[in-house]
Point group: C2
């Protein structure tokens, strides 16, 4: 349902309007005066509020208001929402606190409010919020003490306190808003609804979110982000990167925060840019709305001083950007233009005595180089420098080049006018050149996220045509039918096999002779592993015997495993063994896993195996579905990817085959939700191909 009534209502009722100075009901009443539509105070105890006729109830209003705002105590809210619903109201902002954040009783009250609203088809923002603003409509339906300036950023915040600080700061920084929404507890209207709404809103150029929790409907959030992010940048700061901060956020909003790493993967695949500081949050919202995105990572720097350019270069390269290599033609033109002592490479130091003409000509030459994906202009106020004149020239160039152009006019008073000219022309300016280089890196990152996004959209489209493999379902039915949720290694491998993932052929053997027969058939050397319906980590109890060269060794291994397991876990834990050929090819051992996240559903993990790398925590997450392009990007997130490409004379592994395995693995867990855990460890990657050497699966009963 549309949220238009929240942001462009024709009429508003304020339930709990008050004359009392310092009360929320009074603050909102005062703020609503700037609104051009009808505003009705509702107050059962008074005939008038600040000179306006007050109404005892919603039912007594002269018209059905399009939006109601509720500020009365929590316990009164269910009844008031009921009355509003009966009257035909379809949008309510519940400012009142005292719900989920206070504990169990509050949560029940909140559930009651939500159920009532839903029964009437009413949408609800809050409870426990500051309210909302639409500066373009003169609407301030909040108890914030000032109103946001009109602008193009839709700001959504899960923290009311942060709203007030940002509002104050935005006046100082001349940042304007198309909307300012304190989301509160998000009992009903959540991220997905709001992102879709502002995706359609013509006044909104970018969506900026302060998030403490992704909320109950992660799927709706991600789907909305995927639908909007390519058209309008969505920039998020999400607290709770660390477990400690999650706890802080959780305790104060009553929201449960999930694994940050999973969210990070979800945002990456959905085209959402995540930043770490509030400063970056608004900076990136502005930059992304004003400037084209760089098609590559090569930045050129034009500067009138070397030191600041070196600062920018460090920041650029540390952020995985690159200095553009200027073309011979560009070099020739610069050599003609510039004094002999110019730097003769990028960064282009036009020297401290450069006037506006020299600076602008050099900048124009550099901008035209096809090997340049973006340009940073740095100016320091030296004795011969005219920061304002040069800014005017740069502003003209910015409008012509179709590439990102950023500026750092360093200093304070002497560059203020120049900065103003640049900002007004859509050229973002930075106090320090390192910040500007970081912004370029972020722009590049956003461009990469949009590529992720387009691949994610295509993977989703492909996936909608796909369906669960019937033979997978049958296998799982059989295991669950036997009363188990833990698959044996052989069953788990069979699951992978029917999903199209190469496995090492593995045979079950329930007595010594069968084990030897299987080994003879498969060929030596073989590996013998415990077969058990109860023990999942086989190697911990001596249940894995490697590199067995003949029948005698197989017999010994059988007995050893039987003894070990019986000794530790009793005879019932020993069902027999599995037999498989020992793979002796050299290659890289990976782990490929899937688990189930409470908010996001199936989550995939890839990384390197082995004790050491486990200590080093080298792995990356992704959400299904995948296609080949996404699979490749995903693997590239790990450090081990370098090794997969071949290092120190070793050949690259079969990357195309690896992509294929990853896509099939993702499809398997995406379509068969009864698989709650699935691990291939190790997944052996060699130049000849990819093969699962061991597997483990846990099902939902």
């Amino acid at each position: 349902m549309s949220l238009t009534a929240f942001f462009q209502p024709r009429s508003i009722a304020l339930i709990g309007a008050s004359e009392r100075e310092g009360s929320v009901g009074r603050a909102i009443w005062d703020n609503l005066r700037g609104f051009s539509g009808a505003v009705y105070p509702v107050n059962a105890k008074r005939a008038e509020v600040c000179g306006a006729k007050a109404y005892p109830s919603i039912a007594t209003l002269p018209e059905v208001p399009e939006l109601v705002i509720v500020v009365t105590p929590a316990t009164t809210v269910p009844q008031l929402v009921e009355e509003a619903g009966l009257a035909g109201v379809r949008a309510a902002v519940v400012i009142s606190a005292g719900f989920k954040e206070t504990g169990k009783d509050g949560a029940q009250l909140e559930a009651e409010v939500l159920a009532t609203a839903q029964r009437h088809g009413m949408r609800l923002i809050g409870p426990n919020c500051l309210g909302l603003m639409n500066p373009h409509a003169g609407l301030n339906a909040s108890f914030a003490s000032s109103v946001a300036r009109p602008g193009r950023v839709a700001f959504l915040s899960q923290s009311g306190a942060l709203c007030t600080a940002i509002l104050d700061w935005s006046h100082d920084q001349n940042v304007g808003f198309s909307a300012f929404v304190s989301t509160g507890a998000m009992a009903d209207v959540g991220w997905g609804d709001l992102i879709r709404h502002f995706g359609d809103d013509p006044h909104t150029k970018s969506i900026v979110i302060y998030m403490e929790s992704v909320g109950d409907d992660a799927a709706s959030f991600l789907a909305a982000a995927r639908a909007v992010a390519a058209q309008k940048p969505i920039v998020v700061i999400k607290v709770g990167r660390t477990a400690e901060a999650s706890r802080v956020a959780a305790s104060h909003t009553g929201a449960l925060t999930g694994s940050d790493a999973v969210l990070d993967a979800a945002l990456r695949q959905s085209g959402v840019l995540r930043v770490d500081t509030i400063e970056e949050l608004f900076d990136m919202a502005e930059v992304l709305a004003k400037q084209p995105l760089p098609t590559g990572k090569r930045l050129a720097v034009v500067t009138n001083a070397g030191g600041p350019a070196a600062l920018a270069t460090d920041a650029l390269v540390l952020g995985k950007g690159e200095l553009a290599e200027l073309s011979p033609q560009t070099m020739a033109e610069l050599n003609t233009l510039l004094p002999a002592q110019w730097s003769h490479h990028n960064p282009v130091d036009v020297l401290g005595d450069a006037d506006a003409v020299r600076f602008a000509q050099a900048l124009r030459i550099v901008c035209q180089d096809a090997a340049v994906d973006g340009v940073l202009a740095i100016l320091t106020p030296q004795s011969m420098t005219h920061p304002t004149n040069i800014a005017r020239e740069v502003a003209v160039i910015a409008s012509e080049i179709g590439k990102p152009l950023l500026a750092s006019w360093m200093g304070a008073q002497s560059v203020l006018e120049g900065r103003g000219i640049l900002n007004a022309s859509g050229v973002p300016t930075y106090d320090y050149p390192d910040e500007a280089a970081q912004a370029f890196v972020r722009m590049r990152e956003h461009r990469l996220r949009l590529i992720w996004l387009s691949e994610t959209l295509s993977a989703h489209a492909d996936d909608d045509e796909g369906e669960a493999l019937p033979c997978v379902g049958e296998l799982i039915d059989a295991v669950l039918g036997s009363g188990r949720t833990l698959m044996t290694e052989q069953e788990a491998k069979q699951l992978l096999h029917v999903a199209g993932i190469p496995i090492v052929e593995t045979r079950a053997a329930y007595d010594e002779e069968a084990a030897i027969a299987a080994a003879d058939a498969l060929g030596y050397p073989v590996v013998i592993k415990l077969l058990s319906s109860t023990i999942t980590h086989k190697s911990d109890c001596g249940g894995v015997q490697l590199n067995l060269l003949n029948a005698t060794a197989v017999r010994q291994a059988w007995r050893l495993i039987q003894d070990n397991v019986t000794h530790l876990h009793g005879l019932a834990a020993f069902d027999g063994v599995t037999v498989q050929r020992m793979v002796t090819q050299k290659g890289m051992e990976l782990i490929l896993g899937a688990s189930t996240d409470a908010q996001f559903g199936p989550v995939l993990l890839i990384g390197a195996g082995g004790t050491l790398v486990e200590v080093l925590q080298d792995h990356a997450l992704a959400l299904p579905p995948l296609n080949h392009a996404l699979a490749r990007r995903w693997v590239e997130q790990t450090k081990i990817a370098k090794v997969l490409h071949g290092v120190r004379g070793q050949p690259a592994v079969d990357l195309a085959a690896l992509d294929d395995v990853l896509v099939k693995f993702a499809r398997l867990v995406q379509h068969e939700r009864r698989i709650v855990e699935l691990d291939i460890n190790p997944l052996l990657a060699t130049a000849e191909g990819i093969v699962a050497l061991d597997a483990r699966a846990v099902l939902r009963a």
Copy 2:
């Protein structure tokens, strides 16, 4: 020699003083007018400069000036310095450009100027600089257009352009300076001289450096830093973290920049705080001068809103700080003071309706907790909040507690007055709470650096008593005497052995029978390796055979190595083999290495061995000398340190023995400078001890 004449001269001569508007000679003349001492213009072509009597030469001045400032063209400078020296001048600032930065001829001119100055015992700042200022003495001996405000920061910059931008910015930010020095090419006066001078200067509380190159005398810089850093914070931004930026810096100042990783290690051991951005540079200079350092990493947060506290928590924990765990007594006192809905843990959320009394009482309680090493107060301007009143209370508390106290008064206009009160009371304020948490982390880092420093000082003191081991010298004499610079494995191990580092006993064998005899004597299994005076990487040519169980295997191995080497490199490369016991203990394979840096001398490296970890680049550098405490800190810089402490049921390795090996290794390369490269790879670390399994050494002829 003292630099006092540069910063407190009684008289100054400006050589090249000019009336011409826009000239450097005129700009400096105008700037010098604020100076209270005598200032003489020297100009051979004019009788007067701007109304003041001009002198044709230094010799004709009525007195010998304490300081001369030279702005005339480069080619005139050697003669002018000669004249000044003859006249008895002992301090000169050479502003003029046209020296080393222009190429070979300029470099020669610069060498001439330096030699002349040194002949006369004259100190020289520059050439190619902006000049210097001492705001406390009203001295502006620069061509910057404005003078720095008096304050407590000594700012030293290798970039003149950055000086002008920083100066402009400092007026805006109310940052004051005890001195402002554009160092230029540092032909004579360098970092070491300046740090020692400002270490003694009573007006200076902190030293802030923008560095492009450590210069020719790294030892002097580090010794000065070690002498000063414990008393006055030294904060450095050094461009050239990346190779690309090094190139930029090098090309524009003519300075050669060395390996950034080596510099990083040197700064860490010398108590110098390195930051990455100009914003941090001045912030940390201020914070470190105003606030006590935290004794631990545990921060408490007192806030009137949860969201901002979560932002601070993320930044804190990502920076390796910790949230303090409040004591039961603190909790009890807060429970008594605060409304029931308070957060009930750190961060202490005193709730949005907190007045100044509640906020201050909670802050005081938290500050008194012994488990709290530092405190961050966060305020968001909510409807009931009085930012100014609360700031007053916080300022009082700050003066009492003896722990670091930082503040983030979020917003703009409504918190301006409060911020002013806090800043004036020495409480640093931050626009965003994440920046404040980062500053705490930096303060903690600085404290750790001062601990590094005290250990470095003690290691230097011990080392001064130590001396080269005579038997080491004899070994090296013998190898060099035989016309080689590459030691054999056996010789390199002998070198380690006499230095007190455990090795696996290794015997040379020049025929098959000798190899078998050695193996019989050492005990099986053994390892046989190529013995060659020309081949250094033995395993690349099949020159290493492991795990040989008996004499037959030794014989086969001899032949295999001989065949391999002869085939690849000819018979002359094969001198025989070495025989050593195969070490079968499980443990961690490390690499311990030393190389020689052009600027810093011997540099030590420790890290993990093995192909994989080499790809992951897990190693740390240090400079000798070491003591046990430094050795331990050094190892803790690597990721592999976690494994050395014992993981996944494996025992910790013998860390005390490892420390001992590192200290002895450092002493060896520190005292015997003919060793230019020395690698132990692998150095096997187990719970039972540490042992060098292989070694390689290269000598200086």
